[in-house]
Amino acid sequence: MAELIIIGGGPAGVSAALYALRAGLKVLLLENGPGALARAHRIENYYGVSAPGTELYAAGLSQAAALGAEILHEEVLSLDYTGNFSVQTASNTYTAPAVVLATGTKNVTVKLEGLQRLEGRGVSYCAVCDGFFYRGKKVAVLGSGAYALHEADYLRHLAGSVTILTNGADVAAAQAAGFTVDNRPLQSVDGEEKVSGVTFTDGAALPLDGFFIALGTAGSSDMARKLGALLNGRFIAIDADGATNIPGLFAAGDCTGGMLQVAKAVHEGAAAGSAAIKYLRTLNKQ
């Protein structure tokens, strides 16, 4: 079992890994491709470097691997806490006493009329948290990837019916998993006091009690929120050491907000890695 699981293989995650590895910790790093760095044609504002983002990403991972990190290319679906942190991916579950969240920020967002206004009134970002309130009711999940299917699968056991809305994206995965799927593009989320349904751009309406958002992959903020970490808007709130309000849970990089820059991610990763070392040493003494 790893002592520290790092979710995310960008500058924040790798930097945390380097510090933890050099302190002798057993580190598992789960990465799912270069997020924001892949969109950086060339990084030219980071100390000593002028290289494409993807090149920097690959160099970081090799550096962590050379120091002994176990690096796995797997998409993380959920993070739970039961004595230890347990990280569920599409194929495995990993446990560790400490976790660093460093997944960056989501590049997939959606702008729908009524969405923000109805948050907590039928619009939800967390099936595990809110599914309870939709027992026997009609819900839909917005998304098309493994994360959306994971959320839909949880709701399937509670809700009366679950429809997956892909908003124009591919329906194959959701259909293969046995869900009712509608791929028509969405126009709005409707309802006064609470959600009454959604309307598609073709004018058709679908009556709903609940509308769960699960676009793209599970983000750090999604995972942190489910565990009960304090957020600053959509970002994770951390102290100067990179610690969240949950003992053993740290966060670094774009997922904590502020400057979305490699330099800031590297700094926060180093802080979170160092804080995780201290936390685990104290834990081992007890």
Partner: protein
Amino acid sequence: MALEVNTNEFKQEVLEAAQPVLVDFWAPWCGPCRMQAPILEDFAKENSGVKVVKVNVDDNPELAAHFNIMSIPSLLVFKNGVKVNQAIGLQSKADLAALVK
């Protein structure tokens, strides 16, 4: 200490209370609710002018439904029997202070 209130007590303890009341709708299985509990206790200690109560939604589903609670923790503020403010999700002590103002 936050007072646990059930459906039968809600009218007297919350709606008819003389001072502002902060109500935490929670459940034992909800991770963020467990993190909210100590923050709420802390807030209660430092704000004697505000009455702090908790409603377990598992035990009081009709109360939760009445206030359209569809996500927990949900924190509602009542003044003179009327709901004046509401926040969804884990709230820091500063968030709670702003909510009851």
